[in-house]
């Protein structure tokens, strides 16, 4: 596991609460050792995965982004993962246009019971990002406002 021996890179994982997040939990419970680069953000469903989250992450300093959800036909919300697949596949093909190596982004399906699969997915993806090396910084974090922060206070507190 090359990812473990060298300096960490910045990898963000967006995981569906019902499948892959549970899979990552199971991998932890089973004490499957993994590279530590990935930071996981929990989503209710990969259908919630706005392609813009991936872009924001990659532009803002992440070296790799992984999205993982339920296997096709296994979605807790019946079809969220199909929406995700369509949107993310389109995103993947447009990444080079934006100057981002498409291998820095991947989407996978891992179920809550597939602890060993999660370990291999994380390891393989981390290894791949380490081969690509750190991503060029395209935006400074300070320049990157939250998407609709201004004028988007839908519910005044």
């Amino acid at each position: 596991m090359s990812g473990m021996d060298v300096k960490e890179l910045r990898i963000i994982g967006f995981l569906c609460n019902w499948c892959s997040y549970g899979g990552a939990d199971s991998a932890g419970v089973a004490r499957y050792k993994q590279p530590t680069d990935m930071r996981i953000i929990r989503l209710p469903c990969t259908g919630r995965m706005d392609p813009l989250f991936v872009l924001k992450a990659l532009l803002g300093g992440a070296d790799g982004v992984l999205v993982s959800g339920c296997h096709p036909f296994d979605c807790h919300y019946t079809s969220g993962n199909f929406y995700a697949r369509r949107r993310l596949q389109v995103l993947k093909s447009y990444l080079p246009v934006l100057g981002i190596h498409e291998d820095r982004f991947e989407y996978t399906w891992v179920s809550a019971s597939e602890a060993a699969k999660w370990q291999s997915v994380v390891t393989a993806f981390t290894d791949r990002i380490h081969e690509l090396g750190p991503a060029p910084r395209l935006l400074e974090l300070e320049d990157m406002p939250l998407r609709f922060k201004e004028g988007m206070d839908i519910w005044p507190s």
Binding site: M4, E8, R10, I12, N17, W18, C19, Y21, G22, A24, D25, A27, G28, V29, R31, Y32, K33, Q34, P35, T36, R39, I40, I41, R42, L43, P44, C45, G47, R48, M49, D50, L52, F53, K56, A57, G60, G61, A62, C70, F73, D74, H76, Y77, T78, G80, Y83, R87, S111, A112, S113, E114, L141, L146, R147, F148, K149, M152, I154, W155, S157
Partner: protein
């Protein structure tokens, strides 16, 4: 906002590889964090008390707990902050155990990673808002899918508890696998004698409606308000009129239908009642073999039927049942031994499965309870049982132990000796597993009292030699090759997930494990619940189990359903989508993508079309949030801003 951070040591689970004190210290530098503390066990009574005290003393408005997975304890902590007067949604969790301390041993790296995850949680919490659940009414009926012993037990318990129960069974009769058995271990009591009365109770219970010979077509709705479409397959007989007299079976000239109930040991008539104690006791026509339905002539059954029940024109019917909860009790299927080419692949007539043998032992079975070789009808004098056929064998895609084969083999070996006292009985085994009450004693009886010979080894080959069947194996205790010339070989086949299980899982929106069995919510603490609210599991559909365990789980699932439906109102999860009407342009894209029909088009006061979310129907997946080009619809608790706040926090440079 004043935020408090609690970093859990979880004994040594986290503290061994994460410097929790340091994480708590770093957390103090995060925006809005006014208090932070490392806690031995945050989920324990003193841990929750510490959170409550801090909320009261420091006037906290939001809490972050860095500990285990939110799938484990989010509810616990939400309740704790709520008890201290803070809205339960002003709480966030950072998973520093499953995702940090347990996957790496590098303390320095882990500590930094934990601190980063805490920062992401803090940044998200800053954008959280108070959410209040709304309430909705629930339907006090329950559906049980599957009429095996687990489903029957669940249905009876709930019906006795006052709930209306709808049972859906795929086969023409309830009873499942247990109805086929002759005797049950370890008491060797008659299976039909203990199941039969329960089946009758089921049929006669005023609170139970039975749809036999029916399948689930579609499941809509959500906990408390499911609408299940049931396809009542046509038996080509009007069951309202059929009295189960059986005259049609006597007259039917087509006698080549496979007898499913008797495991194909003997053909049956095209119109038949599966077995004498069937519930409901109604005739069904097999359309593949019926001469009238295939060739358009015959109709003897229609002529003889005293009530005129036979109706060749009858079609499938669809009925919709509205229920508040669903119990899946779809059981298992017997492993198909044709996959074992080395055991003859089902082509040697005197190599049969344990279920076929069970039917043969049964007095109401095809041989009237006499043990006969299928090839020549003679009584076998040497019977060999081969265990673990389709169990504990990764090469056949069945890596798991089926759990009941050791015991039913011991039972069948004993019964063999009862039927043929001078028979020699051998059992090939890998390990004998007998962990329940009186099981080990039963296995010992088979060996010591009945003289069943146990040989340790998985046979490598079974082949026909003249009128004998030769079982070749290694005896791993003697370290020697052995060959047994048998008259009859019984393969102790394991179980596998029921056919159609994955389609049903998809309809119920529950998941299955790697072996195709339905997944429980938590293997230890929520064994009969699923991750879909209002859907429970009973019996072997969740994993193979013997009769006592299946019955226990049926009762457990019934209790869970009774708990759920003992309330008149349920709280709806407030993590739902919300529309900002001033931004909505009325394009209706969200309406199209919503899998739950939870969004409809309304009008604002000027008559412009605007999307509206039906809160009780929204399940909070967020598909609409992404589809909306103007971001007018946002999923509460997972808004764009909240997720991007986490992204920003994690993109931050660390030194």
């Amino acid at each position: 906002m004043k935020i408090g951070v609690f970093v859990c040591l979880c004994g040594s689970n986290i503290a061994a590889t994460v410097d929790t004190e340091r994480v708590a210290e770093i957390a103090r530098s995060y925006p809005d964090v006014v208090f932070s503390k490392a806690e031995m066990y945050a989920c324990s009574e003193p841990g929750q008390e510490a959170i409550r005290e801090a909320i009261v003393e420091k006037g906290l408005e939001g809490v972050v707990v860095a500990s285990c997975s939110p799938r484990m304890h989010e509810t616990t902590f939400r309740r704790a902050v709520e008890r201290a007067g803070v809205n339960r949604y002003m709480f966030e969790m950072a998973n520093i155990r499953e995702h940090v301390s347990w996957v790496s041993l590098d303390r320095e790296v882990n500590t930094r990673k934990a601190a980063e995850l805490v920062r992401a949680a803090v940044e998200k919490l800053r954008l959280n808002r108070h959410l209040t659940p709304s309430k909705f009414e629930i339907n006090k009926r329950v559906m049980v899918i599957g009429g095996g012993v687990a489903g029957i037990q669940a249905a009876l318990d709930m019906a006795d508890g006052g709930l209306k129960v709808v049972m859906v069974e795929r086969e023409p009769s309830v009873g499942g696998k247990m109805a086929k058995l002759d005797k049950t271990f370890p008491t060797v009591d008659c299976s039909a004698c203990i199941l039969g009365p329960k089946m009758v109770d089921l049929a006669q219970h005023p609170n139970i409606t039975l749809h036999a010979f029916s399948e689930i077509e579609d499941v809509a709705g959500y906990v408390g308000n499911f609408a299940v479409t049931v396809r009542r397959k046509t038996p080509y007989v009007d069951w309202e009129r059929c009295t189960g007299c059986g005259l049609c079976m006597e007259k039917c000239p087509s006698r080549k239908s496979p007898d499913v109930f008797n495991e194909g040991l003997k053909p049956t008539t095209s119109i038949n009642i599966p077995f004498p104690q069937a519930i409901p006791k109604k005739a069904t026509i097999n359309p593949d073999t019926c001469i009238m339905l295939t060739k358009g002539k015959c109709g003897s059954c229609a002529k003889i039927c005293p009530t005129g029940a036979v109706d060749f024109e009858k079609q499938d019917e669809l009925v919709t049942e509205e229920v508040g909860a669903i119990i899946a009790a779809t059981g298992y299927d017997v492993f198909d031994h044709a996959k074992y080419e080395e055991y003859g692949g089902g082509r040697i007539p005197d190599v049969i499965t344990s279920m076929q043998y069970e039917r043969m032992l049964n007095a109401s079975g095809p041989t009237s309870g006499h043990v006969k070789r299928p090839s020549d009808g003679k009584e076998p004098k040497k019977v060999v049982f081969v265990q673990c056929v389709g169990s504990r064998d990764p090469s056949k895609g069945r890596p798991y132990c089926s759990g009941f084969c050791c015991m039913y083999t011991a039972k069948q070996a004993i019964l063999t000796k009862d039927h043929i006292p001078d028979a020699e009985v051998y059992t090939f085994y890998i390990d004998v597993r007998a962990p329940s009450k009186m099981y080990e004693e039963f296995y010992n009886r088979a060996r010591d009292e009945y003289g069943v010979r146990y040989l340790r080894g998985r046979p490598s080959r079974i082949y026909q030699d003249g009128d004998k069947v030769v079982v070749r194996s290694v005896d791993t205790l003697l370290q020697a090759q052995v060959e047994v010339e048998a008259d009859l070989v019984v393969l102790a086949v394991g179980g596998e997930h029921s056919r159609g299980a994955s389609e049903l899982a998809e309809k119920l929106r529950i998941s299955a494990d790697q072996n195709g069995f339905f997944m429980e919510s938590h293997p230890k603490l929520r064994p009969v619940e699923t991750n879909t609210a209002g859907v429970f599991l009973a019996g072997a559909c969740q994993g193979l189990k013997d009769i006592p365990t299946a019955v226990a789980q049926g009762t457990a699932a019934a209790a869970k359903a009774l708990v759920l439906l003992s309330r008149d109102m349920l709280e709806a999860d407030p993590q739902v989508a919300r529309v900002n009407q001033s931004r909505c342009i009325g394009c209706a894209k969200c309406v199209g993508v919503c899998p739950f029909q939870a969004i409809r088009m309304g009008k604002d006061r000027w008559g412009n079309p605007k999307a509206e979310v039906v809160e009780t129907m929204c399940q909070g997946c967020g598909v609409c949030n992404v589809a909306c080009m103007d971001k007018a619809i946002q999923l509460d608790h997972f808004t764009d801003d909240q997720i991007l706040a986490e992204v920003n926090a994690l993109c931050r440079e660390w030194t």
